[in-house]
């Protein structure tokens, strides 16, 4: 590799990646218009909750949580793969991550922001949400730290802040690149954002340490946050929720859905942003392997849930799972099994795995399947719990569907904005992959 070649490759990478920051194309505008309409519908739907009451949703007694909490868990789940791919794969020195970690992290940040709204959206009296914040007040009252919901508040906030930090620290060198290639007001903005990064050896040294430490902190955080989310359910005594398997089960499910969502996002981005050279079939193959692995884990979890329910001899547990598989919500359950346990297994075939369209279809199915999984767990467990008198059924109302659509609108809109503002590929890291580094035997 000659020096000139390196320079060319470096500049080529910059050009490729920074293209997305140039004037938006028609496609991007069309995409934004569509997602903004979705977001608008969601906002309108939420305005119904604000102006009328939470009763405009389909929730009832006994199903007090429904599609909104499903969305919460779903988006929190999606938020996990970003940090997972970034941090855990970084710790494991999986170098293939470099092309996609930025997108994954951006997805994390956007998804956790979307997720964070849902507890507020579903609250009966959102204007009292500040009661959950521990701050000194004249009432001398503090929130109840024993409540899993408060754990959620802390976990989600921590996760959001740490994810943003992690995302941002990773961005700093690239922001400097953008700064140096822009001028005028844009340059000013990127100057602010890049914090005066110079790329000095001293800065790089601390940068590396910091990135490693953040990755090391983020990794247990990823696991803890989704464990905490799962404890919202597992700590309660609702049959179908009250289960020790929930934490690993939810973490695996989160990673599963996250990987699928990355495929869903990455594939069109790669095409429309012309990143084929950076994001290669190899990456999709790796993601597919992760899908298979996670699918096996959650399939085992499904099996284990049912087995334990049967083996326990506990009438409540048994009924809850019987109801899940054969009750009112059983069609959703079986679609979920198809999407999460059967379709991903087909990716064992290398031929199918290399068929991008097939992979895409499977990824979309997994995203849907994971949404259904949360819905089935939440709703079917609640609908028939201890007291048969109080059993009931729930189906989301148009307002909830609107908000769900709006959350997708918000997610994709924010994601689109991020791709317009920040380089979609970690240029610095990709560049460093171009030279053989220590401990790397000639990859790339």
């Amino acid at each position: 590799m000659t020096n000139e070649h390196t320079r060319d490759r470096f500049e080529q990478i910059d050009r490729l990646v920074l293209r997305s920051l140039l004037r938006p194309g028609k496609l991007y505008i069309a995409f934004s218009a569509v997602v903004l309409v979705c977001l608008g519908l969601g906002v309108f739907a939420y305005s119904r909750i604000i102006t009328v009451a939470i009763g405009v949703t389909g929730k009832n007694n006994p199903v007090h949580w429904g599609a909104l909490i499903t969305n919460f868990v779903f988006w929190v789940g999606l938020a996990h793969s970003g940090t997972l791919i970034s941090a855990i794969l970084y710790l494991f020195r999986a170098r293939w991550r470099t092309s996609i970690n930025r997108i994954a992290e951006a997805m994390t940040v956007v998804a956790i922001m979307t997720a964070g709204l849902f507890p507020l959206v579903h609250m009966g009296r959102v204007w009292r949400a500040y009661y959950l914040v521990p701050y000194p007040n004249s009432r001398e009252l503090w929130p109840n730290f024993r409540s899993p919901l408060l754990w959620d508040v802390f976990a989600i906030t921590t996760y959001m802040l740490v994810s943003i930090m992690f995302f941002y620290v990773g961005l700093i060198p690239d922001l400097a690149t953008v700064r140096d290639r822009s001028n005028g007001l844009v340059k000013k903005v990127y100057s602010l954002l890049s914090l005066g990064w110079r790329g000095s050896n001293r800065q790089w040294h601390h940068y590396e340490t910091t990135y490693l430490l953040l990755a090391a902190l983020a990794t247990p955080l990823v696991i803890s946050v989704h464990s905490v989310v799962s404890w919202d359910f597992a700590v309660s005594l609702v049959p179908g929720w009250h289960s020790t398997i929930f934490a690993p089960y939810f973490v695996a499910g989160a990673i599963f859905s996250g990987c699928a969502m990355i495929i869903v996002i990455l594939m069109p981005m790669r095409k429309f942003l012309g990143l084929e050279n950076l994001i290669e079939p190899l990456h999709f193959s790796m993601l597919c392997k992760m899908l298979i692995f996670m699918s096996l884990i959650i399939t085992y979890s499904y099996f284990s849930e049912f087995f334990v329910a049967w083996y326990s001899g506990n009438v409540f547990e048994q009924h809850s799972f019987y109801n899940r598989a054969f009750g009112f919500y059983s069609p959703l359950f079986w679609v979920m099994v198809l999407c999460n346990s059967i379709l991903p297994i087909t990716l064992f075939s290398a031929r199918l795995r290399s068929n991008m369209i097939y992979v895409y279809v499977v990824a979309v199915c997994v995203v849907i399947g994971m949404w259904l999984e949360r819905f089935v767990i939440i709703v079917s467990s609640l609908s028939q719990d201890y007291d048969p008198y109080a059993w009931g059924q729930y189906w989301p109302s148009i307002v909830e569907w609107g908000i769900t659509l709006g959350s997708f609108g918000m997610f994709f809109f924010m994601f689109g904005m991020l791709t317009r503002i920040f380089p979609v590929v970690a240029m610095g890291e990709v560049k460093s992959q171009l030279r053989p580094g220590p401990g790397d035997a000639g990859h790339a």
Binding site: N137, S138, R139, E140, K188, S191, L192
Partner: protein, 169 residues
């Protein structure tokens, strides 16, 4: 410097929102000194005439409400006392017509609060401890926000019960 200026602008924007919300909230609060239909001078009645709170607010030690007296109580004296003063003429008119005087409430606990005047008066509290020096006021001015913090502070210092169900209903 420009950098700092931009940071300042961002912070100021959020601060402005917070202030606006707070101001809106304050506007919703009832006035601390509402205008009363009849200017009832507490200081004259207490300091000059020597009346006691319970003379008019008769049920403060019998009921959860202290109650505002009807015009018949006022007319017990004002049938003959100071009948020519404009405020008393208003009072007399109200009494004759039988229409209640539209006193504006100065102190009103929130509807979710159980507050018993009786319990507080019988425990030996002075009216002024909550209502301020009413005997020096003309129209009554509210001296507290009746917020939970205000209640709790006193309950804590006096060792009064602080169970939720003591006050919340």
């Amino acid at each position: 410097m420009k950098t700092i200026a931009i940071y300042v602008v961002i912070v100021a924007w959020f601060a402005a929102v917070v202030v606006a919300v707070a101001a809106f909230g304050l506007m919703q609060e009832p006035s601390m000194r509402p205008k009363q239909p009849i200017e009832y001078p507490h200081h004259t009645h207490v300091q000059d005439v020597g009346m006691q709170c319970l003379d008019c607010h008769r049920y403060a030690e019998k009921s959860i409400y202290a109650t505002i007296p009807g015009t018949d109580i006022c007319m017990g004296c004002h049938e003959s006392v100071a009948t020519d003063k404009p405020e008393i003429i208003k009072l007399t008119e109200a009494y004759r017509s039988g229409k209640p005087v539209g006193w504006v409430r100065v102190y009103q606990v929130k509807p979710h609060v159980y507050f018993s005047h009786k319990r507080h008066v019988l425990s030996g509290m002075k009216c002024q401890e909550c209502h301020g020096p009413v005997e020096q006021m003309t129209t009554v001015q509210r001296v507290t926000d009746l917020g939970m913090g205000w209640c709790v502070k006193c309950h804590r210092t006096r060792g009064a019960p602080r169970e939720c169900d003591t006050c919340h209903k």
